[in-house]
């Protein structure tokens, strides 16, 4: 039986992004690819939501950022490169991630109790 579609709520988006950054520093496009890959395409965080979220995390001090120049290896040595903005979880961000995880675990425990009882009724 197909499951109901899953939408990534704002609280979940923050948790997911912080969790990805908790493993390693990353950049916008890579974060969006990681979300799609780990959820087998079930979760998608659109750029119109991802980049404002990253900006908000930066403003709140949950992540720190730095810029790197990226150059493509091409036949044309004069081809221009571009800049890449890297995000790294700050100490405050790690704390927030831990709070999110704890909150999700508690909710999961409560939901599990209902799921188990529904299994008994089936």
């Amino acid at each position: 039986m197909p499951s109901l579609p899953i939408s990534l709520k704002p609280d979940h988006s923050e948790l997911v992004v912080l969790a990805i950054l908790g493993q390693a520093p990353s950049y916008g496009y890579s974060i969006s690819k990681a979300i799609a890959a780990r959820s087998d395409g079930d979760f998608k965080l659109a750029p119109s939501n991802l980049y404002p979220l990253l900006t908000r995390l930066e403003k709140q001090g949950l992540v720190t950022t730095s810029w790197e120049e990226v150059k493509a290896n091409t036949a044309d040595p004069d081809a221009g490169g571009r800049k890449r903005k890297w995000y790294r979880l700050s100490a405050k961000g790690k704390k927030r991630l831990a709070q999110h995880v704890e909150s999700m675990r508690r909710m999961q425990d409560i939901l599990d109790s209902f799921v188990q009882s529904s299994g008994a009724l089936a």
Partner: protein, 435 residues
């Protein structure tokens, strides 16, 4: 994932040639990506540095996505089209980004008052420090020397005696026109005196004397003090090799310069206030003659004397420093307030889950209580009743707390929604009073 190298985010440099780079595919068609980015950036209502940073980040996203799509076999136009469409409606993306990056825009009269007060205080200092251009003082700065140099250099040169050559001058009891000729020729220049002025000066018998080493400025000031018409009515300027005595207003008019001042460090709706504050400061200064201040294409155009330009530069620098420090404080306050709300919201959510869980547990306990009571001996029923009353009382307390928590959560949600949509609501047209 490799560790990023640190590069100052404010550095905006074009990438130079690189001997080694990231292994990848041929870069995407730059013109199309640039066009898309230009369109997006034009919709961002943000200061220029912020727009540049958003542009850089989205360029990286777009090009990275295009490179991945090219690997799958799409052509460049197909890859660009797909990558751009994945970013969503450009206007919506621009709106979301502007909202995320932009500050809360509260236009208050307090800020207007602060702007004008700041400009006024700078102008008051400016009045005390700007030298008068005419007067009876024998000051090195009393005369105006006009050149083709920019305003700042003109103002600096006026007081820089080290760059002004000196000459030995010695004459006694010469009529004004001859004395003027001697002074001019002492500095390798010719005297410039109109025929009318020459005739007027020859009608007077005032003689002048000068002995010593002087700069041109000193010599002319001394000479003009002998001017039968009073040096308040005369000033001089140098035009190539001619020293010209004329009306002070002519000298002032010749010194007028027009300069453009960039305003991209502040939101465009503040430009009017900045312009008014600058104009007021210039108009209240001794250098106000012939000044004009206007806004054009996001820049401020000032046509004025060099001293007014120096004043304008100082005002704009102070306004900018004041604005930037205020913005930093606002962002810090907003961040703290937002964080406090989020912490409270998270805490309330947890408490709500906990209350529901406890109520659920207590609910199970009270299930079948009637049946259990009937099974108890008479002497144990009273104790059972007491326990049940306590249990029900606890349930009531928890339900009451849960109600309060739910209400508080709704209030915070309403506040967040209002904050989120306030910029949009503020931009909606209001009903006309004639309707």
């Amino acid at each position: 994932m490799t560790e990023p190298t640190s590069t100052p985010s404010s550095a905006r440099t074009r990438p130079s040639k690189s001997k080694r780079g990231e292994v990848g595919v041929k870069p995407s068609a730059p013109d199309s990506v640039e066009t898309w980015l230009d369109m997006l950036v034009s919709m961002l209502a943000l200061p220029k540095p912020e727009r540049e940073r958003v542009r850089d980040e989205l360029e990286d996203h777009l090009r990275s996505r295009i490179d991945d799509l090219l690997i799958t076999g799409l052509t460049e136009p197909e890859a660009l089209h797909k990558a751009a469409s994945e970013l969503g409606e450009t206007a919506d993306l621009a709106r979301q980004l502007t909202r995320a990056h932009g500050p809360k825009r509260k236009r208050t009269y307090a800020m207007h008052a602060a702007l004008f007060a700041l400009a006024g205080s700078i102008a008051a200092v400016g009045i005390m420090t700007i030298s008068p251009t005419t007067g009876t003082r024998q000051s090195p700065n009393a005369a105006i020397v006009v050149s083709d140099k920019p305003a700042a250099e003109q103002h600096a040169a006026a007081g820089n005696h080290a760059e002004n050559p000196t000459a030995q001058i010695d004459f006694q009891d010469l009529p004004f026109p001859e004395a003027f000729r001697v002074v001019a020729e002492s500095f390798g220049k010719s005297p410039g005196l109109s025929a009318t002025m020459l005739r007027r000066y020859r009608e007077h018998e005032t003689k002048s004397s000068m002995t010593g080493t002087f700069t041109l400025d000193e010599a002319m000031n001394r000479l003009l003090s002998y001017d039968p018409y009073g040096n308040q009515s005369k000033a001089y300027y140098v035009d190539n090799d001619v020293v010209v005595i004329t009306d002070p207003m002519v000298v002032i008019r010749r010194s007028i310069r027009t300069a453009t001042y960039e305003m991209d460090w502040i939101e465009s709706y503040e430009h009017g206030d900045i312009m008014v504050a600058t104009r007021m400061a210039i108009e209240n200064s001794p250098a106000s003659q012939f000044s004009q201040v206007s806004i054009a294409a996001g820049s401020m155009l000032i046509t004025a004397r060099p001293e007014a330009h120096v004043l304008a530069e100082r005002i704009l620098l102070d306004l900018r420093n004041n604005y930037e420090s205020r913005r930093r404080a606002e962002l810090a306050t907003e961040a703290k307030a937002a964080e406090a709300i989020e912490v409270e919201y998270a805490s309330l959510l947890e408490r709500k889950f906990e209350l529901n869980y406890q109520l659920d547990v207590l609910g199970h306990q009270s299930l079948g209580s009637h049946g259990r009571r009937n099974d108890l001996p008479e002497d144990e029923r009273e104790a059972f009743d007491t326990d049940m009353r306590e249990l029900n009382s606890k349930v009531d307390r928890l339900r009451y707390e849960l109600k309060e928590v739910v209400e508080r959560l709704a209030h915070i949600r309403a506040h967040l929604i209002k904050t989120e949509y306030a910029p949009i609501l503020n931009r909606l047209p209001t009903r006309s009073t004639t309707e």
